[in-house]
Symmetry: C2
Subunit: 200 residues, 2 copies
């Protein structure tokens, strides 16, 4: 069996490292890039490089930005008394798209994970506590962490530190997603949905 | 709603142009690239650029190569009397992986398509005919074109030109794929499978 030229083989290898792109999809993408306009290919290559050269983390909240502070932290119309804590910058994007939060954010860049050896020092938790200790402090922290084991551990850890400062702390409701069906809902989600039941 | 920094927004736009990558997958990929080692990101960027800088088409068969002629055309152990005609370089990869063809290839880089205005001049058909007119000519041409309307048109067109030179021409069998089930086989495929039935 003939082998592939190194130029395409190493691109396939690099593409395969991306999440949810297997070897077969990587092959299709690589051969696709052989066929399209050279300009499009160079734009993609440059955009990938520019991402790391130009993007950095907001010094206040840890969200992605090209300046010192992100657009949200700089926006005077945002409610500075409310901070929504998320795991990753992509979660900010998701919440902004839903238009449900008018306050600020704080991006932890992960969750505590005893199993994977990730401690508070590996996350932007000290930076969060610094924000809680400003004068005046925020009046509310919303924990928008994923409903996973590590998300739960992190929420419990943070809730204690936030409450002891007398700041209100809540966590996003867990339950059956809108449009989802009970038939395909797992037992843990169902139990949470029952615990979180509300008067109608 | 806050907008994304241009560096990540334009990467998402470029990634969305790739086949089978929607805006949501592009977002996930872009934010993933924010998180991984800088080295891996630069390797991906460089690999994309190198693809177009180093890869070219074999001057004999149109397959991808980094030299003048591809590895298969240069290989003295390949059977030079048999040429397998395919639509795209990725088809060569697929056939090589199956280890069913010991001859050479010819890559058309597309199919004839009256609807999309693609004629013989847009494909590497003149190059194929040149190879059929060598002395001695190949003894067999296998048309491994996709079983689609355009593939059929192209196969009919080529078969005529190959046969009039007294060279044997065949096309890959069409039918129910191994492991497939009749229940999920469309009517056209089933008809072809019946037409192509063989004594057991």
């Amino acid at each position: 069996m003939a082998s592939l030229p190194p130029a395409i083989d190493s691109l396939i290898t690099e593409l395969s490292k991306l999440p949810s792109i297997g070897r077969k999809s990587a092959q299709r993408l690589a051969f696709h890039l052989m066929r399209v306009d050279e300009e499009q290919v160079l734009q993609l290559s440059d955009a990938i490089r520019a991402l790391r050269e130009r993007l950095r983390l907001c010094r206040i909240c840890g969200n992605v930005t090209e300046g010192e502070e992100c657009e949200i932290c700089r926006d005077p119309r945002r409610d500075r008394t409310s901070i929504c804590v998320v795991e990753q910058p992509i979660d900010v994007l998701q919440i902004e798209a839903s238009d449900v939060h008018r306050g600020l954010y704080h991006v932890l860049h992960g969750t505590l994970s005893p199993l994977r050896g990730i401690t508070a020092d590996d996350l932007k938790i000290a930076e969060l506590e610094e924000r809680l200790d400003t004068d005046p402090p925020p009046s509310e922290v919303i924990l928008a962490l994923n409903p996973s084991v590590d998300g739960d551990v992190t929420a419990t850890y943070l809730a204690q530190r936030i409450e002891e400062r007398g700041i209100s702390v809540t966590r996003l409701g867990t339950g059956v997603p809108v449009g989802g069906s009970l038939e395909y809902t797992d037992a843990v989600t169902l139990r949470r949905a029952f615990e979180g039941r509300r008067k109608i």
